[in-house]
Symmetry: C2
Subunit: 331 residues, 2 copies
């Protein structure tokens, strides 16, 4: 891809992102009671890459649809995403998100539960504005996406208490927890943009594989990320004893002493920060950093393959650029 088009894509992304931000920031402006909507506005103001709305927009564009007709759908998926963040942060007992206090820390748990529910209900309300004539299909897809996200989060909680989880199960979990939403975004954009069956199917798969690659990249960054660019300290998943792709791959490859050391991480529900370097070294020695990189390549490759169903070269290029940017990201 030539440099020129890359600049063009960044500019497109920034322009659309700004529009999304504007819509998100005015969404709760005149809504009452403020006890419900102010916390909702707080989490929406927290930033984020707004990748999900972008996937809706780019999928609409890729099937020749009009962007102006899908902004509500784009907002709806971001609301759904933020609903999951608010509730997940309670479950993870997370103090911070994107450097700011999580909603339940800023307010309290009751407010966080209810604001999460509120975000989801407004997601449906917003989506309904964009699906004239297609409501049954659009709402069904959205609801299936929501169900998968709930199931994925539930599996994630389940796996937390298990000593061992196979890589296959882990991939199934992130398919539901992370990839289902990316798949939904692309599917909604393609349907609302008037795509044909093979376009819708291809974009849905593109979103799904992108979502899996994105999540493994997330796991990888926790270990191999550059601390300054990453924005949080390296090794956080180890400290919290999370079962990431790297951890599960490591434990499946390790033997003897190495395996025992790895098992200590989950047994003790995390490690001390001064042990991060040791485990990072172990991960490198076991080759799981490379394994993760290969897995990311595998899934992003599968995603890119789907783009053959997209008619315009520019649309194939921009979706290709997006996935490359995401899997090469440093934070």
């Amino acid at each position: 891809m030539i440099k020129n088009s890359e600049t063009k894509f960044w500019l497109l992304y920034e322009r659309e992102r700004e529009k999304i931000e504007k819509r998100l920031s005015s969404l709760f402006e005149n809504r009452e009671p403020s006890s419900l909507y102010k916390p909702g506005a707080y989490i929406l103001k927290g930033g984020g890459k707004r990748i999900r709305p972008l996937l809706v927009l780019l999928s609409t564009k890729a099937v020749g649809g009009k962007l102006s007709k899908v902004y509500n759908a784009a907002i709806a998926v971001e609301l759904l995403h933020n609903f999951t963040l608010v509730h997940d942060d309670i479950m993870d007992n997370a103090d911070k998100r994107r450097g700011k206090p999580t909603l339940h820390k800023k307010y309290n748990m009751d407010t966080a539960i209810l604001s999460g529910d509120g975000l989801l209900s407004i997601a449906y309300e917003t989506l309904l504005k964009d699906c004239n004539g297609n409501a049954k299909l659009i709402l069904s897809e959205f609801t299936q996406g929501l169900i998968e996200v709930c199931e994925g989060q539930s599996l994630d909680n389940e796996y937390e208490s298990l000593q061992n989880v196979s890589i296959e199960k882990y991939i199934l979990m992130i398919e539901k927890k992370t990839a289902a939403l990316a798949e939904l975004c692309c599917k909604l954009g393609a349907i609302l943009g008037g795509g044909n069956k093979s376009e819708i199917n291809a974009l849905a798969k593109f979103g799904k594989y992108l979502g899996i690659a994105f999540q493994i990249q997330d796991d990888l960054l926790d270990i191999a990320g550059n601390e300054n660019e990453f924005g949080k300290f390296v090794g956080g998943d180890l400290v919290e004893g999370k079962k990431t792709y790297l951890y599960l791959k490591a434990i499946s490859k390790a033997k003897g002493e190495d395996k025992k050391k790895l098992m200590l991480i989950t047994k003790n529900k995390g490690i001390h920060r001064n042990r991060i370097e040791f485990y990072k070294g172990l991960y490198f020695r076991l080759g799981v950093i490379d394994d993760a990189r290969n897995e990311i390549k595998k899934y992003s490759g599968r995603a890119l393959k789907q783009l053959r169903f997209i008619k315009q070269k520019e649309d194939r290029e921009i979706l290709g650029w997006l996935i490359n940017t995401l899997v090469e990201r440093s934070r």
Copy 2:
């Protein structure tokens, strides 16, 4: 109303309720992961009057529609209701519901948050089965109902920390928290049953007024209920320091010492059980028991008035029977 038709109505209710129970109990049977759906099945098994599904069914019948076409909608409103119960019980820190441990006590808080989300997502999935052709309207109404319930719960939480709340604000809160869902049930039943505009409008109002009467009756039962029939001890709202209709009415009427004593309830966030009799006496002395009874009559009267828009005598009678049964209930 003659005794004969009353028996007939009870039999109809029991028959429909059984169908609803059966559908509810099989709803999550083959769904995975069990960590998400078993807790959901647990709360659905907890019983309850299933008034909301009944409202859907009776509203469909009242406009001449077929019951067989609205069972999914009837299940959906019960799922929505149970979603609110699960999340509200966390916020109220309630230990028991209908004599059994609440979901977050039986399992844990994370599971309760997520199972609540799951119940809501399955509500949408189930509703979508019953709205061929009408999806946009049906889903919009359902979503508006959900939003109102969230707003009502948020107002309820807000009012908890206020020293004083006007009766008007209290009614607005229960309109959203309780009555909006009853209104939704009747509206969905009427729309799906093919009712005309005035029938839909009348049944929606019927549901709303019934919901308000139902909630004030709930507040009244806490004080004036018969302990044996009520199933829980009388005065629980006083012990928890809840701002009920009776409390707010009492504080608006009381003067001097009485007012000071009433203010202690919220100041101390509840009273000791041995003080219940005193406050019960005060409520009687201030006349708020009668005020509540009159308010219930006012709203059930408004509900009954709407029934003039219903064509068949039997349908008017059965809805009349339902509201009378509810506002004369002892638990």
